[in-house]
Symmetry: C4
Subunit: 323 residues, 4 copies
Amino acid sequence: MKRKLATFVALITGVMIMVSWTVSPKKNENPAPHKTIKSHWPNGDQLVISVSMQFETGGQPEGAESPFSGNPLPKGQPDLAAESWYRYGATEGIYRMLDLWKKYDIKVTSHVVGAAAVRYPEVAKAIAAGGHEMAAHGMSWDNQWNKNYADELQFVKQGVDAVAAITGQKAVGYNANWLRRSPNTLKVLQELGFLYHIDDLSRDEPFLTKVNGKNFVVMPYTLRNNDIVNIAGNHWTPEMFLSQLKMEFDQLYAEGATKRRMMSISFHDRIGGTPAVVKAMDDFIKYAKEKSGVVFMRKDDIAKMVINDPNTPVDNAEAQYNK
Amino acid sequence: MKRKLATFVALITGVMIMVSWTVSPKKNENPAPHKTIKSHWPNGDQLVISVSMQFETGGQPEGAESPFSGNPLPKGQPDLAAESWYRYGATEGIYRMLDLWKKYDIKVTSHVVGAAAVRYPEVAKAIAAGGHEMAAHGMSWDNQWNKNYADELQFVKQGVDAVAAITGQKAVGYNANWLRRSPNTLKVLQELGFLYHIDDLSRDEPFLTKVNGKNFVVMPYTLRNNDIVNIAGNHWTPEMFLSQLKMEFDQLYAEGATKRRMMSISFHDRIGGTPAVVKAMDDFIKYAKEKSGVVFMRKDDIAKMVINDPNTPVDNAEAQYNK
Amino acid sequence: MKRKLATFVALITGVMIMVSWTVSPKKNENPAPHKTIKSHWPNGDQLVISVSMQFETGGQPEGAESPFSGNPLPKGQPDLAAESWYRYGATEGIYRMLDLWKKYDIKVTSHVVGAAAVRYPEVAKAIAAGGHEMAAHGMSWDNQWNKNYADELQFVKQGVDAVAAITGQKAVGYNANWLRRSPNTLKVLQELGFLYHIDDLSRDEPFLTKVNGKNFVVMPYTLRNNDIVNIAGNHWTPEMFLSQLKMEFDQLYAEGATKRRMMSISFHDRIGGTPAVVKAMDDFIKYAKEKSGVVFMRKDDIAKMVINDPNTPVDNAEAQYNK
Amino acid sequence: MKRKLATFVALITGVMIMVSWTVSPKKNENPAPHKTIKSHWPNGDQLVISVSMQFETGGQPEGAESPFSGNPLPKGQPDLAAESWYRYGATEGIYRMLDLWKKYDIKVTSHVVGAAAVRYPEVAKAIAAGGHEMAAHGMSWDNQWNKNYADELQFVKQGVDAVAAITGQKAVGYNANWLRRSPNTLKVLQELGFLYHIDDLSRDEPFLTKVNGKNFVVMPYTLRNNDIVNIAGNHWTPEMFLSQLKMEFDQLYAEGATKRRMMSISFHDRIGGTPAVVKAMDDFIKYAKEKSGVVFMRKDDIAKMVINDPNTPVDNAEAQYNK
């Protein structure tokens, strides 16, 4: 009977594909059996999904954005409720997400603030032990766009070193505070041996840009599938977030039949790690895994896959800053 | 049993139709076979839908509205994340929407900022090549309500000329920045040979107004079915936007059986062109196309259809400004 | 087969009633056949619903709340887009709602701003011709809470007289601008012969309060089922608004089996009169009408029904102001 | 054919269960018959849910947060509409919620502001008579984080005494205004004989912390399942709130198979007590009760159950303040 069910699903899928054939014969070439897809990803997949899991708790400054920050206490007065809200990321949030990734054998990219790893080394170690990528996110929650070259390099390097000292893993990917890098950031990153950064929203696939004449990977990030923007900021329910994920997936997966498409999803310890959001993500993973040719990857693995691939797009829109 | 179920459903539907007949016999006269509708549109359709696709990216000023603009950087400091968010409109957004219009053979009206076309001529050309209307949207993102007559005329003309130089198409329709025209705008537009403007929210059908004694078409625009208002501004999910479109359609389509009704939908390159919003619009088009007598049209074609039609309403509510 | 369907529905209803009996035998006494309900409404109904339809367009001051008012133009500069948004209420909104009330033979209470009726007398007349209650809403959009007794009386009286001159109907119910009456308002209203006001949110049923020693009816108003609060202000979709209406109805209808319950719904010309909101209300009316003992009433009729009823609650919480 | 459909559904369900077994055999151990669960709660349950029902109406200061407070009236001018909105909590809200708890035989924790009990003693008595916990919430709506030790002790004690004088019940649990306690609060509470406080968001289970060397229980509170945050503040519909509750429940219940998990839900008289929110909660209770091993408890009973249990986590993150 199990086989019958599979047949049934295959038939429905078949019918759906036929319908789309009729409507738009050129756009939706039959993705059909996975192995025979003429994919534009080197690994033959139709859609690459990459999850970012920010670990920042403990690195936040006084008055950092929280459900209480709209009405801040006077400087120096501890906001104990806000602090307890942040602690949730380290006591519950990251562990709950790690359980989810393990359940589905997914590896994610974790952008770790140096100070958070120092404050909660056991959490940083648990992330690394799960096989996830330890990416950099600065030494602390601090503006990066206004630092001079030397200070910025020091700031990034300290964060990398702090996490490496605890977990033994050296970051090759970078995420700046609120995505706001300086005009020097890519040069700083390249000097420090980074392979890619994610603070760019211009494409739905990774691309190459020249930094001091050498290839650097720009990995698409997302404000659309981002818990801090849409759940904390825009007050979506987890169910609304799930709806966004599914609709974005549907579209990108369909496009993936004819071109390279990547879907980025972002979670933060104290938001994405709450029960209902993890439940939403669990439902989404099940939904995505029903399709063939869908893979969840760490961003360092994606960067390595595309950096020398001749089909990777090149975009030097910021060339003025990168030489 | 399956047949019984179908019968049951058919019966329920039948009962519902009978009920609505009984309750409101005059309003909902059976629209029935398309050809026999006594429509109030000259072309015999029951509902005209018109999509606006704003192409503005590259024309925005420093600090323009984005997910980052609530917390602006100091003047002169490039906001690289915000700029990359805008670039999405030119690298992904417009192309994804063009694919959608092509899939369903829909022609839309594209309001193109002059500076955007200059910055991304290949995008402007792709829009024109798709058979879409090149409408005007000013030379750049700039207040229009505070310009004097000569400056305003110059500002509008430059935008028209810039797009015409690139695409060979001269605009006959206008959309002002944030809909905020000056008291002179309609006179300026008429002097420049425009046929219509869209910066009016007072009706669900186009109407005529006298400008310097001659007919000028006012095309209904929308804040209700508008991605920048409801998705970017009011934080609706794409699914919520879809729900709005369907319910608006249901009502206007029903009304279209007895009077002229038009539905306006508006997208912006970097918002409407994201995957989940295009997926929502794809679902909406399928939904709308299930009904007979529904047509998607460019606004210039609508303007030409109504400007000499005696059944087009006349409204001179702004007569004081237009002479 | 039609009879079978009815039987089927009756059976389902029966089962549901039995279930509620079991769970909570005292609270939910079987509402059963309509005529035999031991209702707490004098008319024997289980739930009274009353719709308010505010007609205000044309009476708004410069810079009045609109989708444009967050970013106001300088004083004296006409905001033509905002004005056209308001005009929608008079050209489309009220008429669309009138069609809906007629479709279901519902009479509503229309709170009419005097200046709106003067500006659009044909709209005021159409409301009155539909058999709806012409209630008062001040002469213009103006603060009422800060007027002295004489000025407030004059302001209310002018509004009543303006509408009466156009429609021949004299208001007996009152709604203050943004519900914000002064401490004198009830005395002013009583002096002018009013029967009730609606600017109170404290109960889900009308109650009596003593004003200068005589009974005055306080009719419950709503911010919960209010288009200007939840659609314009809180950015709900019409579908979300419908969900709120249905859930509120479900609860109040159930409570109505054992006590007097009233549901208040509020629409404003330019918001509630848009296509998708009218579609939502249409769906809600169908939903509500499926239950027995549900009636839609004008507020003046409700006031007359309860003012001399000994079961009407008395609440003198504001006694300090009303003598 | 009907039987075939049922078989099909059963098979799908079966397959899904098999899949989850296969993917994560350790996490989701079959909860199966209640008595045999190896639960981490002393009482053998899989999930403990605790509802807070804040009674505050009548204790609010002038200008307190309401739908009107965004646009405050001048000091001294009574905001009669806002006051009537608050009164709803005492006339309708608390009673409606009490009916709901009674319907399902649930006991909740009610955080009562002293001044509210003084203003509406009959409401306080009705809560106590329902078997609910009378917990403390300060004497009035006032900042607590800025009081010195003596003033804070006096403020808390007055509130406890006021409620005890009316209901005969002395609080052992505390909730500070907007969760914002001072660094001294736990010491103050312990001196006054309190057993626990709830102003902490760091865990999904109660934990112990040392205060002056003795165990004090920290009970998890919630901003996620909180009507004032999400319905009043974030403008969720009651249906959206229900969706949040269900998804949070699904996740915590699943986790409860292998560790101690608690779900906290919070309502305020004038918000949670409105019809549609009570309807949502009614639906949620039904949903939760379908699972075995789910129990609704008062927080004092939970505190007593865990305070001497060796499996209760210990967390002294705020040790610096508590000695």
